[in-house]
Assembly symmetry: C2
Homo-oligomer: 447 residues x 2
């Protein structure tokens, strides 16, 4: 065999590139780092650069001719490599800086960034941040949000895998709208109309018949024409479903563990990001307090003098009040509301066998906002036929789904958790649009 291209063409650098996070172990050594020119300032005869790589920042100090050569030097956000000596410095952020640098420009930026990225705070309006997400997502405070989301997702997955759940991917292209409620996006599928899945609900239920325990992490699509701070038209749903449960309390215990796993993974994998954002993680109690829908209405009447007892749902204000109560009276950022009226919830929700007007359904309220819905599902074929008839829904579009129940399904249940909404609540960001890398809303399909 003749030599491959690899062997004949690519001499590599002498110094191996280190990450900024690795420099502490190399004080006094000459090293190579590479990344983006994050910030630059002159002070006396010195030029201070900040280099940003995928793992952090490091200050670089040049003096004399080297300092002059960097003024103006390459534009901000240029990709550069720096070789220099790792030096302790009490003044430098992180206590280290690189001195006696040589700077190599790997790829010069051709325009200045639309927003100054070198500042600790990113000063720009929401529209600018979203329009220029390609570059503003590079800012440490923006990047930290997405690292937290990745950590939360990893914690969710680890929790479910430890409990022997099987990860699945269900189709996002569906033949017809098989779920009541939110509207769907139509797709031209080879001349037929398909729709985008707004939830893996029906498929994950079917899969209980195969694996007993399944979870999915994937996109869902909601064609709701609302422009709010807590809705996205495409978001990441963390879904789980499990068979052979007694009732919804088994699911509530599972969800509690999943949330604890998400919070724990944020702490373990993204401590620096939490510090950077000043985020205080919630404590997840061993048992999350629970209140029934009826009790919640009584409580709101007693505490706030507002009578919502006739309502079929909780308003955002009610959720906030209940969140306040949970924190003040139960010391918990989390609260389960159970026992919603059966006629209010999705047709697949299992009624409470002793009080069928209430369903074995729950919402999880986190810091005053509903974050997760879940519950026990109906598992008998005849119950599905009955509830569809009762609600005047045709059975035909659900035929494939209903088939699973004809062939024997155990009592089961699950939940769906919006990743972005969870991270929004944890970080306290003012809008969910800042928790999606490239949010999709009523007006936004780019970038």
């Amino acid at each position: 065999m003749v030599p491959t291209q690899h062997q004949i063409q690519h001499p590599r650098e002498q110094l191996t590139r280190l990450r900024t996070s690795e420099l502490g172990a190399h004080v006094g050594e000459r090293v190579r780092v590479a990344g983006w020119l994050h910030a630059r300032r002159r002070l006396g005869g010195l030029t201070f650069l900040t280099l940003r790589d995928g793992w952090g920042l490091v200050q670089v100090v040049a003096e004399g001719a080297a300092a002059a050569a960097l003024d103006p030097g390459p534009p901000a956000e240029s990709v550069i490599a720096i070789e220099g000596v790792v030096t302790r410095s009490a003044q430098a952020p992180g206590g280290l800086e690189i001195t006696a640098p040589t700077v190599e420009v790997i790829a010069a930026a051709t325009v200045p960034p639309p927003v100054a990225l070198g500042k600790r705070e990113l000063k720009a309006g929401l529209a600018t941040l979203l329009d220029t997400a390609v570059v503003t997502n590079r800012h440490p405070a923006r990047r930290a949000v997405f690292r937290l989301a990745a950590a939360a997702m990893a914690g969710f997955r680890a929790t479910l895998l430890e409990r022997d759940f099987t990860e699945i991917q269900t189709p996002k292209l569906l033949a017809a709208a098989t779920e009541s409620g939110a509207s769907v996006f139509p797709v031209d599928y080879f001349g037929r109309t398909a729709v985008l899945a707004q939830s893996p609900q029906l498929y994950k239920q079917m899969m209980v018949g195969v694996f007993e325990r399944v979870f999915e992490v994937g996109p869902v699509f909601r064609a709701e024409p609302h422009d709010t701070t807590r809705h996205l038209n495409e978001y990441v749903s963390l879904d789980a479903e499990m068979g052979f449960i007694t009732d919804h309390h088994d699911i509530m215990a599972l969800l509690r563990d999943a949330v604890a796993g998400m919070v724990g993974a944020m702490r373990a994998r993204a401590g620096a990001e939490l510090d950077l954002l000043g985020v205080a993680l919630p404590e997840v109690p061993a048992t999350i307090p629970e209140i029934t829908f009826v009790e919640a209405h009584e409580l709101i009447l007693a505490r706030h003098g507002v009578d919502v007892r006739g309502e079929l749902d909780l308003s955002p204000r009610d959720e906030r009040w209940l969140g306040d109560w949970a924190r003040e009276e139960r010391g918990s950022d989390f609260l389960y509301v159970t026992g919603y009226p059966t006629r209010k919830v999705a047709f697949y929700a299992q009624p409470n066998p002793e009080h069928p007007e209430y369903a074995n359904y729950f919402d999880l309220i986190f810091r005053g906002t509903e974050m997760v819905s879940g519950g026990q599902r109906r598992h008998r074929y005849e119950d599905y036929l009955a509830v569809l008839a009762e609600r005047g829904l045709p059975a035909e579009p659900f035929a494939a789904y209903l088939d699973a129940f004809r062939y024997g399904m155990p009592p089961h249940g699950g939940f769906g958790l919006g990743l972005e909404r969870f991270v929004m609540q944890v970080t306290g960001l003012p809008t969910i649009k800042l928790v999606s890398l490239f949010p999709r809303d009523l007006h936004r399909l780019t970038p």
Copy 2:
């Protein structure tokens, strides 16, 4: 607080349900198992049931009145619980059976399954298997395929996370077709036309500017009107992208590790499934052999007397021949083909700096079928403008994407691997449609 519903309503069973996989530790004990009635047969005065749960199968033997009560008993696939004594039995599959059973029907099946699930082999045509996937996916041999896919995915993710890649989710709803090649599905997005992402390519490249190293596991959508054994219109793509590389060989090394991680996870997490399917996993060499496109043509001429030297791509037959060569001459199930003609590959592929007519692009051939494409990408803004102009492509639809390069991007590259195609090749299944839980093809949007 009044007692919650949980405290007052749900007495639990005395015996905790065990999984079939846990019975070996309970020989001689009375236990409870639950699952699906997988198979039943009578022999003399005995009735043998096979119970299937999410983890395996167990044989149950009833005699006397108990045996008579099970004839006919509940239909196949009914959900049942059995209490009985775990007993060693040389004849029983797995060496254990449950004797002296009592059987409780949790949810009776209302119709017999369309295909007998209780047999070792699932005897049905492809159309039947796909039409009734809701129930045929329950068969141990079908379920094993999806467990292997889940294991492969977990191995991919673990490999990337160990190397400090950040997991991302990029939008599936895009404003316009920004990728050449395969066609896209149009979506009605609030009265505008959006398209479904056929790859996270452009977004994952942009994200190198944020995280340096990213990966994504998610659905992609290809509106190609082909009905073949190796294409799906929706599939799961495992994508990675990384910055600060020297060239495509860094990506080839990463992909080698990812594939080794996938194979290793299948071995570690799904050994029983591999046995059941009789699958021999490939060995992943420490370095996967490499051949250039030009060398591949010469080799095909020398070994097969067929001159394909003018071609711009490899045909499936060529790939098969190269796969044979790799196995026979290099002892490898895997082969990299590098150095494709630049004008043949995607516009973002980085040309070889010394021979710009060839690109730093590769395909990974696995057992004679192309499974992964990847390579180094262009990273300079002006190079993108030049190649788009050269190919007569407008720059406008790529504006948001190109922006990332105006703000400084390092040399980078990555790959995209179709999960279903990988599992198809590992298992030797005759069509990729049997590797998707609910495949989407030209004619199939349900179940």
